[in-house]
């Protein structure tokens, strides 16, 4: 014998041991079968392996992949979540679970799980800031899209503390709280931030605005005073206080702050305007007007300053005062069509429609293409029963803008009103050439023909109904 029985036995034992060591386990065989047929084999192998090794990440992910490939994704969620809950905070598995929930359209459950993941990540010993932020940002966007305020606020709150863009998230949070009317929560949050950043004027101004929104004027004034103690001559805070005084009709107090603002922001016309208002409302009209005039005199070429004065008067229905300013404005800026419109309106308010008409007549003589003003002129002439003149202007309007259906009809009505039936007929005929199919106008034309004794023409129109339908009135639905 070459070998002894002992050597043979040892050899066989060694082979058996090697075989036991090298034979693939269920996990490996699951991986080998994972592209096979309906995946039932790989699913069974992975499940069997996981029963013995429940914390095995590869087997869990392998089982999930096999179930998905088999078209059984809904069975894949539980093993994945079970594994995740054994290893809370494992971002890779967490993201895999989220992705699976999204793929299987279980979006509400995905949102719930996302928050579970976030809470787990927050208590991790040394969580990666950026990784939490990504998940939080997604949670925020989903909450905003779903209009879930509580979750949006929660996400914003955490992001405000975590993210390098913290201030931006804080602003978003404040905005959301304010939009929802959660003023007390917003105030509490802002006070905390002011404690951390006492010289942040914007934060302090927001607090003042919230106090005012709550209707607590004394508190608002108190907050302004406290803010100005730290930030004296802060224009925003002084402007806010001035506004509080103006709202409360505390004109004298407002005047002081407004004069301060005029010194701090000399180029800002808002302050003299507000000062003028405060003076006038406080019974000092001449002083108020003087302030406005002084602003205007500083730069007569600034159209806006003229308009500030004009609006000052027209807002108070002081048309007698507004009109001379408008005349001077128009003299300086003759192309300002708004000024012309305002002056026309001013004259009308003062009962001087004839002057208004005169202005418009001069305008359309100088600018025959100003269709808008010509239309206004026509309206005024009609008001004043100067129908013949109105009709002449309608003719001029139509010569320039024949596409306006209503103008033709208005012209025909005017001509008929002044007894010019032939003119009315001509207009209607030409109108109907452009806009055929207008039943009412056809009826009117037939009536006019009839009134002129032109029965044959009237009948011909009616017979026209028997002819094939003409193209319709553009855009008009019957």
């Amino acid at each position: 014998m070459i070998f002894s029985w002992l050597q043979v036995a040892a050899f066989l034992l060694a082979m058996g041991t090697a075989g036991w060591l090298l034979y693939p386990d269920e996990y490996m065989r699951g991986r080998m079968y994972r592209d096979y047929n309906d995946r039932s084999e790989s699913v069974a192998l992975f499940r069997s392996f996981l029963a013995k090794h429940p914390g095995h990440k590869g087997a869990t992910l392998g089982l999930v992949a096999s179930l998905e490939a088999a078209g059984r994704p809904d069975e894949a969620l539980e093993p994945l979540l079970t594994f995740y809950r054994r290893r809370r905070g494992d971002l890779e598995t967490g993201r895999a679970a989220l992705a699976l929930l999204d793929r299987t359209q279980q979006l509400e459950r995905a949102d719930d799980f996302r928050w579970e993941l976030i809470e787990d990540l927050r208590v991790m010993p040394a969580p990666s800031r950026r990784r939490i932020e990504e998940v939080l940002f997604e949670a925020l966007q989903r909450a905003v899209a779903a209009q879930d305020d509580e979750r949006a606020l929660k996400a914003l709150g955490i992001l405000a503390g975590h993210s390098a863009d913290g201030p931006s998230y804080r602003d978003q949070m404040v905005r959301l709280l304010l939009t929802r009317g959660l003023l007390d929560r917003a105030l509490a949050m802002l006070r905390e931030e002011v404690r951390a950043s006492p010289k942040n004027g914007d934060l302090r101004r927001t607090i003042v605005r919230i106090q005012r929104a709550r209707g607590d004027v004394p508190a608002a004034l108190g907050d302004v005073a406290a803010a100005l103690a730290v930030l004296p001559f802060h224009p925003g805070l002084i402007a806010d206080r001035a506004d509080i005084f103006l709202d409360g009709k505390r004109w004298r107090e407002a005047e002081a702050d407004l004069r301060t603002m005029m010194r701090l922001e000399p180029r800002n016309d808002t302050w003299p305007l507000e000062l003028a208002r405060a003076l006038v409302e406080g019974g000092r009209f001449a002083d108020g007007v003087a302030v406005l005039q002084s602003v205007l005199q500083r730069d007569l070429s600034d159209r806006k300053r003229w308009w500030d004065v004009v609006y000052f008067y027209t807002d108070r229905k002081m048309f007698a005062e507004a009109v001379p300013h408008l005349e001077r404005l128009l003299a300086r800026f003759p192309a300002d069509a708004e000024a012309l419109d305002a002056l026309v309106q001013g004259h009308r308010e003062l009962g001087r429609t004839d002057l208004a008409i005169g202005l418009l007549e001069r305008r359309v003589r100088g600018v025959p293409g100003d269709l808008e003003r010509r239309r206004t002129l026509i309206s005024l002439l009609v008001e004043e029963e100067r129908l013949k003149e109105a009709a002449d202007h309608v003719d001029a309007l139509l010569a320039r803008s024949p596409a306006e259906a209503e103008t033709w009809l208005e012209g025909a009505y005017l001509r008929e009103s002044v007894g010019d039936v032939a003119g009315a007929v001509s207009l209607l005929e030409r109108y109907l050439e452009r806009f055929p199919g207008d039943d009412k106008s056809l009826e009117k034309l037939a009536a006019l023909y009839a009134s002129q004794g032109q029965r044959k023409k009237a009948i011909a129109i009616l017979k026209g109904y028997f002819r094939p339908a003409p193209p319709p009135v553009p855009g008009r639905l019957p």
Binding site: D35, N37, D38, R39, E68, A69, A70, G71, P73, D102, R103, T104, Q105, L107, F137, E138, Q141, R142, V144, A145, Q147, R175, L176, L178, T179, R180, R209, I210, R212, A213, A337, E372, S401, A403, E404, A405, E406, T407, F435, D439, L442, E443, A446, A447, A450, R455, A458, I459, L462, Y465, F466, A469, P471, P472, V473, P474, G475, R476, L477, P478
Partner: protein, 689 residues
């Protein structure tokens, strides 16, 4: 003649069917190339196409995109135009807004409605501060019925919603001022109807009315009419306003008939079409088989009573790999079946039509419009079909954005071409805004869109999850109710038979669809109905009277407002009607004359209420009804207008039974089978004594 008599004669003449006015169905939308986001400047990417055109189609309208940089239509071209829509992306949308404003003003004065979405984009170029709008544009806005005070940043503490119409606002998303940082200071003139009003506490009398109706049209302005969030994947859209109701009101469409291609004989249309990609891929279900073979076995053979429209890629058969008889034989087996309508899916399957990049690399071939259409049809017929009859149906390939020359080549070849479009409407895309319209304008031509997206949209472009197509079911459900905006179209590629999960998903979708009360048809027929939607002419011949011209493949008119009922005795080519989903669906025959007369209480006559088969040769009297039926699936129908409680003998199409009409005069009939697309069979329904 005195005016009153003239009026009376005129009124009588107006009631006559001789005089008629066509219902305008066209809407124009003005755009500039700069409005189109991204690098590819195709109107496909405009929000007017992606979001607005589907509701307009649903309202029976045809949207035409007009590039203002080329030319604005002349006033005479506005005949037949209901309205003009603008969806402007910014406050400075035009280098010089004045010509556009003048044109819009003239259009309104010619009784064309104007509707503004998005921004009030008529700010003077280069101007900062608000408002700075030229006088012509102020005039136009005034004509529209509003005044505009520019854009205002607002503090959430200072603004309150003081009026909001619950029927119009909050359609898919509640109005949320937190979404907005700025508001357009638009104020509607007296006589207008604001749907939303916001007031500012820091300025008395200051208000904004950014959504509302005016006598000349309407406005629905950013940021309060539509929500868009591109921080999510997919981007999230939601309508804050009800786009269907808003457009109907703003364009003055109340009470008008709407051609509807989603429905035939009161049943929602069903189609299934397959693109030829992956026909020769090996299937993991059985690695000895190709996906095409698996598809034939799992679906075509197992559902012989259901129609499929199948396409193949012709270029395969010019490649050595697929020239063998086995490949040809398998291809023929798919295409030449009684329940299959064959179609062409290109020659080299262009993936990007614009760049001519193709999926198949065929030696010595460069993509050409002619070869991809007529040439491909010829190759398929000669090599696969061998019938000598040219194929008539074509499915666009790849990105489905063919150029005008491609569309022309298909039309010249006599091919009815369809594909592209679709959309999803499900948990991840919970809005009508993700649904594409019926078609896409390409120059002077029109590309017809398929109703649905294929499995690529559900499987990350076929990279997984391969079971994703099962999620087509929520889209089918949501596009069917509460408003039916799409038919059901099961649309996949042959490579869906490559994967186990995909086959399981597809099977579940077919099972779902085949359990619904649908009207099955080939895709070619649906494509013809979409083509005819645009060709159809509707003349109003009197109050409640309409005459249809052309467009015979459109088989349904829909009314969404109370209009009475069809008077079947006075109408022609109307075989029935059904009230469903708050609308009246009127079923039309396919040959002229087709004239609909509505009445408040017309006499009851037997009619089809709904049927999942075609009805022709309809003859109906109080005692007897006769018609020819042809269709797919197991046939069933509901007849209405019968004598309540009366017994009827129903004979034909494999049925001979005595059935009793219900107390409501309805009779439900189930046939044992169908014609499976074959010759029509006669059915009679006779009242028994």
């Amino acid at each position: 003649m005195r005016p009153t008599k003239a009026a009376a004669v005129l009124a009588a003449l107006l009631a006559s069917p001789v005089g008629a006015a066509p219902l305008p169905r066209k809407v124009l939308t003005l755009y500039r190339t700069s409005f189109i986001p991204g690098e590819v400047k195709d109107t496909f990417f405009l929000p007017t196409h992606e979001q607005l055109e589907m509701p307009l189609n649903w309202l029976g309208l045809d949207l035409e995109h007009v590039d203002v940089e080329k030319a604005l239509p002349s006033p005479s071209a506005l005949a037949g135009v209901v309205g003009v829509i603008l969806w402007l992306p910014s406050t400075h949308a035009f280098p010089d807004p004045r010509p556009v404003c003048r044109w819009l003003d003239a259009a309104m004065r010619s009784n064309v409605k104007v509707v503004l979405f998005g921004q009030v984009g008529f700010h003077r170029p280069g101007a900062s501060g608000t408002p700075d709008v030229d006088p012509e544009c102020k005039t136009m806005l005034s004509t529209l019925g509003l005044s505009y005070g520019g854009i205002r940043r607002f503090d959430p503490l200072d603004v309150k919603v003081t009026a909001s119409d619950p029927k119009m606002m909050g359609f898919e998303r509640k109005l949320d001022l937190n979404d907005a940082g700025e508001l357009p200071m638009v104020r509607l003139a007296p006589g207008a109807t604001p749907y939303l009003r916001l007031e500012f506490s820091d300025e008395r009398d200051l208000r904004a009315e950014p959504v509302g109706l005016t006598p000349r049209g309407g406005v629905a302005l950013s940021p309060v009419f539509f929500y868009s969030n591109d921080q999510l994947t997919p981007p999230r859209y939601a309508w804050v306003i009800d786009p269907f109701a808003f457009l109907a009101d703003a364009l003055g469409l109340k009470g008008l008939p709407r051609p509807d291609v989603t429905t035939v004989n009161g049943r929602r249309v069903y189609t299934s079409h397959i693109d030829g990609d992956g026909f020769f891929n090996v299937s993991e279900l059985d690695r000895r088989k190709l996906s095409g073979q698996v598809f034939i076995e799992e679906f075509l053979k197992k559902r012989p009573a259901s129609p499929f429209s199948i396409s193949l890629i012709a270029g395969y058969y010019d490649l050595d790999l697929y020239k063998d008889e086995a490949s040809l034989s398998l291809s023929r087996e798919a295409m030449v079946r009684p329940n299959v309508e064959p179609a062409v899916h290109g020659y080299s399957h262009p993936l990007v039509w614009r760049t001519r990049a193709a999926a198949l690399k065929i030696p010595r071939y460069k993509v050409s419009a002619q070869m991809e259409t007529a040439g491909a049809a010829k190759v398929l017929d000669e090599r696969v079909m061998r019938t000598g009859r040219p194929l008539g149906l074509y499915f666009w390939t790849g990105d489905c954005l063919p150029l005008e020359e491609d569309l022309k080549a298909a039309a010249d070849a006599g091919l009815l071409a369809i594909n592209g479009g679709g959309g999803r409407f499900d948990a991840a895309r919970p809005s009508y805004a993700y649904l594409h319209p019926l078609s896409r304008q390409v120059g002077a031509l029109r590309q017809l869109y398929s109703p649905s997206s294929n499995e690529n949209a559900f499987t990350n472009l076929w990279s997984g999850p391969y079971y994703g197509y099962r999620d087509a079911i929520p889209t089918f459900e949501r596009t069917g109710a509460p408003r039916r905006v799409k038919p059901v179209d099961i649309y996949v590629h042959f490579y869906s038979a490559e994967k186990f999960a995909a086959v399981a998903a597809l099977r579940s979708v077919y099972d779902w669809a085949h359990a619904q009360p649908l009207f099955p048809m080939f895709m070619g027929r649906y494509a013809a109905s979409v083509r005819d939607f645009f060709a159809l002419r509707i003349d109003r011949t009197g109050p409640g009277r309409y005459r249809l011209g052309g467009g015979p493949a459109v088989r349904t008119l829909r009314f969404d407002d109370p209009v009475g009922e069809p008077d079947l005795a006075a109408s022609k080519g109307v075989i029935g009607f059904k009230r469903e989903l708050g609308s009246l669906y009127v079923h039309l025959g396919d040959s002229e004359p087709r004239e609909l007369v509505l009445a408040r209480r017309p006499p009851a006559l037997p009619r089809i209420e709904d049927a999942n088969f075609d009805v022709s040769g309809w003859e109906a009297g109080p005692e007897r009804v006769r018609f020819l039926k042809s269709g797919w699936w197991k046939s069933d129908c509901v007849l209405a207008g019968l004598a309540p409680g009366r017994s009827y003998r129903v004979k034909g199409a494999g049925l001979d039974a005595t059935l009793k009409a219900g107390a409501d005069g309805r009779l439900r009939v189930f046939f044992p089978d169908s014609e499976r697309g074959g010759r029509p069979r006669e059915v009679t329904v006779e009242a028994l004594r």
